[in-house]
C-alpha cells in the first residue's frame, strides 16, 4: 500500500511538472492561470496522500478558487497576451 501511494505521489509530482512547463511556455495568460489551477489540483492530491486533509481542503479553496480568480481580475487590468 505504501509503495502504491509513493508511486502515485511521484506520478502526480511529475505530472504537475508537465503543467508547470505549459504555464511557463503559454502566451495566453488566462490559459496559464487555468493550467496553474490544474497544477494545484495535482498538489492537493499529493497533500491528501501525505495524510493532511485539512491542509488539502484549504489548499483547494485558496489556490483553485481565490488565487485563480484574483489572477483573472489582475489580467483583466492588463493585457491578455504576452508579447514575445
Amino acid at each position: 500500500m505504501l509503495v502504491e501511494h509513493l508511486a502515485l505521489m511521484a506520478f502526480l509530482l511529475a505530472a504537475s511538472f508537465v503543467v508547470v512547463t505549459l504555464i511557463v511556455r503559454e502566451r495566453d495568460l488566462i490559459k496559464a492561470v487555468i493550467y496553474s489551477a490544474a497544477q494545484s489540483v495535482f498538489y492537493s492530491i499529493v497533500l491528501y496522500i501525505l495524510m493532511v486533509p485539512d491542509v488539502a481542503l484549504a489548499y483547494i479553496a485558496v489556490t483553485v478558487g481565490l488565487y485563480t480568480a484574483l489572477m483573472v481580475f489582475a489580467i483583466r487590468r492588463t493585457e491578455r497576451f504576452e508579447r514575445s
Binding site: 505504501l2 501511494h5 509513493l6 508511486a7 505521489m9 511521484a10 506520478f11 509530482l13 511529475a14 505530472a15 511538472f17 508537465v18 503543467v19 512547463t21 505549459l22 511556455r25 495524510m51 486533509p53 485539512d54 481542503l57 484549504a58 479553496a61 485558496v62 478558487g65 481565490l66 480568480a69 484574483l70 483573472v72 481580475f73 483583466r76
Partner: protein, 264 residues
C-alpha cells in the same frame, strides 16, 4: 508550437519521475514514513478524546482542531489577529469611493450568459453548504474555521466574476457592514476565551483542568454528539471572520469592475 510544448513537458517529466520517486521513497529532505507514529502524535491521539481522563482531553475526536483551538489555541488567536491587521491595512490603503456605490442590479441581465447564470447559482449554493458544513463539523471531521471561511470566500469571488461587482453591495453585503460582522465575530471570540478567566479558570480554557475552578464548556450535545466545548464555537466564529475578511479584501480589489452594463 503546442505539440512541441507538450512533448518537452513529457520528456522533462519522464526524466523527473525517477528523481521524484527516489525523493519520496528514500527521502531527500527527511522522509518519515507513513506507518510510523511520532511520540507527540501518539500522545495527542491518546489524550484528546479519552473520556476517562477529562483533565487532559479536548472533547473532540479531531486531532488538528484539538491542537489548533485547544492545546495551541493562543497561537491561532494570534494568527486571527494577524489576518485582522492585514485586512485593516488593505482597507486603509485600498479605500475608494467605488466600494460605497449601491445600485439595483438585475441578475439575469448582468450575467455573462444564461448557462453561467444557472450553473453559478447551483455552485454558489453548494459552496455555501459545503463551507458551512466544513466549519460546523470542524471538531469531528477534517476542516475547520479557516478552511470553511476560505471556501466561503469563493462565493463572492464567483458572484463578482459571473455577474457584476455591484451585485454584492446590492444584496446587502456592503464593505462597512461586512467589517462590522467581522468585528462582532472577533469580539465574540474574545468573550468566549475570556469567560473562563472571570469564573476562576484559565484564559482559553476549554475543558476542566486540575487547578481550575471553571468546570469547562459542555463537551457533548444532549444525545451524545461531541461538541468539543469551545471548539465548535471558535470554528464557527473563525468561519465568519475569515469569510468576511477575504470577501472585504476581494470587494476592494474589484471595486469599479463591471460598472458598465451591470446597473439597471
Amino acid at each position: 508550437m503546442k505539440g512541441a510544448d507538450i512533448v518537452l513537458g513529457v520528456v522533462i517529466a519522464a526524466a523527473l519521475l525517477p528523481i521524484a520517486y527516489a525523493a519520496v521513497f528514500y527521502g531527500i529532505p527527511s522522509h518519515t514514513g507513513f506507518t510510523a507514529l511520532r511520540p507527540l502524535a501518539r500522545t495527542i491521539l491518546t489524550v484528546m478524546f479519552n473520556k476517562l481522563d477529562r483533565l487532559a482531553w479536548t472533547a473532540s475526536p479531531e486531532g488538528v482542531t484539538s491542537v489548533l483551538w485547544d492545546y495551541r489555541g493562543v497561537d491561532t488567536l494570534y494568527e486571527t489577529m494577524v489576518l485582522l491587521t492585514a485586512i485593516m491595512g488593505a482597507v486603509a490603503v485600498l479605500h475608494t469611493r467605488g466600494v460605497d456605490i449601491v445600485k439595483r442590479v438585475s441578475l439575469r441581465r448582468s450575467a455573462l450568459s444564461a448557462i453561467l447564470d444557472r450553473t453559478s447559482r447551483v455552485v454558489v449554493w453548494l459552496t455555501l453548504i459545503v463551507s458551512a458544513a466544513m466549519a460546523v463539523n470542524g471538531h469531528l471531521t477534517p476542516g475547520g474555521g479557516f478552511v470553511g471561511g476560505s471556501a466561503l470566500a469563493v462565493v463572492p469571488v464567483l458572484l463578482v466574476a459571473v455577474f457584476t461587482a455591484l451585485l454584492l453591495p446590492a444584496l446587502g453585503f456592503r464593505n462597512v457592514r461586512m467589517l462590522r460582522v467581522r468585528m462582532a465575530a472577533l469580539l465574540t471570540l474574545i468573550t468566549v476565551v475570556t469567560v473562563p478567566l472571570t469564573l476562576g479558570g484559565y484564559f482559553f480554557q476549554n475543558q476542566p483542568k486540575p487547578t481550575s475552578r471553571f468546570p469547562g464548556y459542555p463537551p457533548f450535545f444532549p444525545g451524545g454528539v461531541p461538541l468539543g466545548g469551545t471548539l465548535i464555537l471558535l470554528n464557527i466564529i473563525e468561519f465568519v471572520a475569515v469569510g468576511m475578511a477575504f470577501s472585504i479584501a476581494f470587494l476592494y480589489l474589484t471595486a469599479g469592475e463591471g460598472g458598465e452594463g451591470g446597473g439597471e
